[in-house]
Subunit: 555 residues, 2 copies
């Protein structure tokens, strides 16, 4: 048995916050039986991934070993943990295990992508366990900013691994189970080989606050408002949505949920029994008859997403609702780095309408869903693992978290995507490096991050695009003059003539003088026409555009 | 004289932070003599302005009235106040007035753009004044995060206006003049008609801190470092660069300035006498002989700019310098919203190298250059203006600042770009709305924000670009089959065939069946080919690309 080993291999989520995908394996090297924990997405941006719909981990390594894979466990229903399951399911074809709420969300996603929703298996929480190959896996309730987050207890002949998933230490999370330190101590009492632990808030120096700290503040704010009130938060933060709705109800307001994701999350929560006592909601159409000072909207789009309800309200009417002078808009959310501009745009739009915007800068209206540094240390102290592997973080987070562990004398490793770690011994050892990367969902197809497709888009956006067309006759002589089409480029340059005309003139000059050898050679001709087009653009407008050359031959 | 009036017209900077340009005028309506205060730039981003080099205010209104314009005053040398002067100078052709340090920077910019640097006139600070038409203008020293910021006192027959420029209340700014409340009280004692006031930090609830608060913290941090130290800040924050350099010197380190802007700002400061006692610097080439624990680098690129020294160091070597395990990197700066991703990328790169990164989150290593809310209130109390016009802010800042004024009983107005305000009476009145906008410097040419050029770039980045080429013979019959070139699009779609081939097939089918009328009509043909290309892309890859159709006719 000494040749068997326990491995950990992040394919996503270690070295970034997003697209979580963590592989565990047990067995002889190369023959390990595998499980996958989470299969999430990351979100594109204009800087690096224009036009892309979703970013997913490249699971080629795992897909090639699909026959070794026993199952997929989803810790919770946030998109960065669940979002890629239905998109990549067909390459893995194994059951997907999750607790009821998460499974509900997963099934809908499977259906949307044309897969059998029954591939998703609902598991009961710890002490129930699922046996898969050499593994016995249990989902222990842990508090987070979504219902039914489960920390996984993964037992194998090499001992117990605790994979926290995303978590915070919340004794009163409003919706879902409280963090129970005694339960975690009980689970850890016989020794934990490795703790694989959320690192998101390792730079937050103060202990985290409870979801229940917000109710009074939010109630006070809303009860003092005189006009219409609207508030946004993450749709999946069902506890927060409940707190907001109850505050509205107490202030005598009817609740309107705006945005598909918001309604869907509440629906799933009610269907799976995780949410009760949710105030009665009214439809936007019914709201027309209610005085605006008796309304409270709860909206999607806390990150400034252009198509979500909040941005629509910032632009004007949305489903008949409109915010006006004297109304109040509350961001009960923090802005994720990278989304600042979109959120600020919305705040300024509301400002122009005379709407008062309250954000989370006071700390009164939002708490994080992740464990802060002191909370992480408390988790380390409860679990007392032999090995600590920080996950769910950029490199800086992993490094800081590993340091926290080392400072406590816990053998810790910075394991980034593609680094296979052997967890069998007293210290973590790098067993292998796997090629990993990103797969983009682009429209309805998947493309590789390194395919050059997105690179071309970025280049066209930065440099513009010139299309040069030239026709050559049967003798390889130019038939008429070449012409150009410009897209994304200034029409007039330094010489005050149309750039297209100057370029056509330069290209024509070249073609007139070009030797037979050049004119016969497609590659050479294309290369030269491209060079001239770029050169003319550079001297006329100071930019070197992307150039596509289309040479047609009358053969 | 009762028909004469004093007007204020922001062309940039009011409704955004950036590209400041404020017009003042005095005279009969439509015949006012004008001055322009500041002419700055804003910086492009990939989301809204890909490929653009600089964003400048559209000064068409002013250029049409260049004969009414007496001069341009630059309050200080930050790019958002000075950056467009040389680019737009030829449309205005009037003297540019500034204090010595600012004038030094302005002259270099004028030279770079081929203008006479003597168009820049150095003015002495208050009580010296410049008389221009109906105006008498003085530049009163005011503290900010750059040397020699000047608040302008603008006198006209309609009374005194104070245009603060960017400022903070700093009794000990390290470099440059301290804020002198007595001087400002003296200036204001006979009554101030209007205070036009910086709004940047109106949401910061606590009184601002002094530049001098940082020296001890920075010195302590650097003296405790064991490896190489590098620190970044805005190059123009000469006081900070001095503080950093002195801390390094005290710790026995030789100072290396990395980045052109950094060296240039220090040079300008020394040439104009605003900086003294700056530690001796060594060149990167000399640094090779100095032990790394005796070096301190001060670098450009605190906002994560890709080509600046900080990002270069994050990538690897820069001018022979390299950061390694155990070195320290200090961000003595805050990250401007929108720049988070670039800065975080750098921090993670350093983390991978084992470099410890310290940022401003502790508040120990950076203070803002702008007046916070209590400081703004102090300024209101000192100046006691009849009218308050908030400037230098997004709409939300202007609105909050106007509210502060109203709460004190000062007649205040939210005046955004293009709103001409009559400042003559007891309350501000909107006198006119002027068309304003943005001009982009794009390569070497200027393009309008509404020209559609940048819109096309964004569309190509989001949707990809298809070029369809079709050739028709003398009888308007297709000559061969049409073909397509794809750029920024997946090569293979749902049918598992090459997208280009499927598209060519569909286009060919269309051409074969098209009637004579369609084939003869360029517009119709282009429209149909475009429609089919988009339709095929939609069904094959789920995207609707931009399409350029090139129809060649053998006539």
């Amino acid at each position: 048995m000494s040749s068997e080993r326990l491995i950990y291999l992040p394919l996503g989520g270690a070295g970034e916050i997003g697209m979580n995908a963590y592989v565990y394996g047990y067995g002889a090297p190369g023959k390990e039986r595998l499980i996958l924990v989470d299969l999430g997405v990351a979100f594109p941006d204009m800087d690096t991934t224009p036009g892309v719909d979703l970013i997913m981990p490249d699971i080629s390594w795992l897909a090639e070993r699909a026959d070794q894979l026993e199952g997929i466990f989803i810790t919770h229903a946030h998109e960065d943990h669940i979002g890629a399951v239905a998109h990549l399911y067909s390459r893995l074809n194994v059951p997907v295990y999750a607790r009821a709420f998460t499974a509900n969300i997963a099934r809908r996603k499977m259906e949307e992508q044309g897969h059998d929703p029954d591939a998703v298996v609902t598991i009961s929480p710890w002490p129930e366990v699922t046996k898969l190959g050499p593994f016995t896996i249990g989902a222990v309730p842990i508090s987070h900013s979504i219902p039914e987050s489960g920390g996984l207890v993964i037992d194998s002949p090499a001992g117990r691994v605790i994979h926290t998933g995303d978590f915070k230490l919340d004794a009163n999370p409003i919706v879902g189970e409280a963090f129970d330190p005694d339960l975690w101590a009980e689970i850890s009492k016989d020794g934990v080989q490795a703790l694989v632990c959320d690192s998101t808030n390792v730079f937050s120096p103060h202990a985290g606050r409870s979801e229940s700290d917000l109710g009074d503040n939010i109630t006070k704010l809303i009860s003092e408002a005189s006009g219409m009130v609207a508030a946004t938060t993450f749709a999946s933060n069902v506890a927060r949505v409940k707190t907001l709705a109850q505050a509205g109800e107490r202030a005598g307001r009817s609740i309107v949920l705006l945005g598909r994701a918001m309604r869907r999350m509440i629906e799933a929560s009610i269907e799976t029994g995780v949410l009760s006592d949710f105030p009665k909601v009214v439809q936007p159409e019914e709201a027309a008859d209610i005085p605006r000072e008796n309304l409270m909207l709860i909206t999607t789009g806390s990150q400034g997403e252009r198509r979500a309800a909040t941005a629509q309200l910032a632009r004007g009417k949305y489903r008949g609702m409109e915010l006006k002078e004297g109304d109040l808009f509350l961001f009960s959310s923090k802005t994720i780095p990278g989304n600042e501009k979109g959120v600020i745009w919305i705040i300024n739009q509301f400002s122009e309408k005379g709407v008062d915007v309250v954000d989370d800068s006071s700390g009164l209206y939002h708490v994080s869903g992740h464990a802060n540094r002191p909370d992480l240390e408390q988790m380390h102290d409860i679990v007392k693992p032999k090995i600590l592997i920080p996950m769910h973080g950029e490199h800086r987070h992993l490094r800081q978290h590993a340091r926290l562990g080392e400072d406590k004398g816990i053998a810790s490793a910075i394991a980034v995507n593609g680094m296979m770690i052997d967890l069998t011994g007293d210290t973590p050892k790098v067993a292998d490096y796997i090629d990993t990367g990103r797969t983009y969902l682009d429209g309805s197809v998947k493309i590789g991050a390194m395919d050059g497709i997105v690179r071309d888009r970025i280049r066209m956006a930065l440099n513009g695009h010139v299309v040069v067309t030239a026709i050559l006759d049967e003798e390889d002589e130019p038939l008429g003059e070449p012409w150009v089409d410009l897209k994304g480029l200034a029409e007039t340059g330094q010489s005050n003539a149309a750039l297209a005309e100057v370029m056509e003139e330069d290209l024509n000059q070249f073609l007139m003088r070009a030797g037979k050898k050049t004119l016969k050679d497609d590659d050479k001709l294309e290369q030269e026409l491209k060079r001239i087009a770029r050169q003319t653009a550079q001297s006329e407008i100071g930019k070197k555009p992307e150039v596509t050359v289309v040479v047609s031959r009358m053969r």
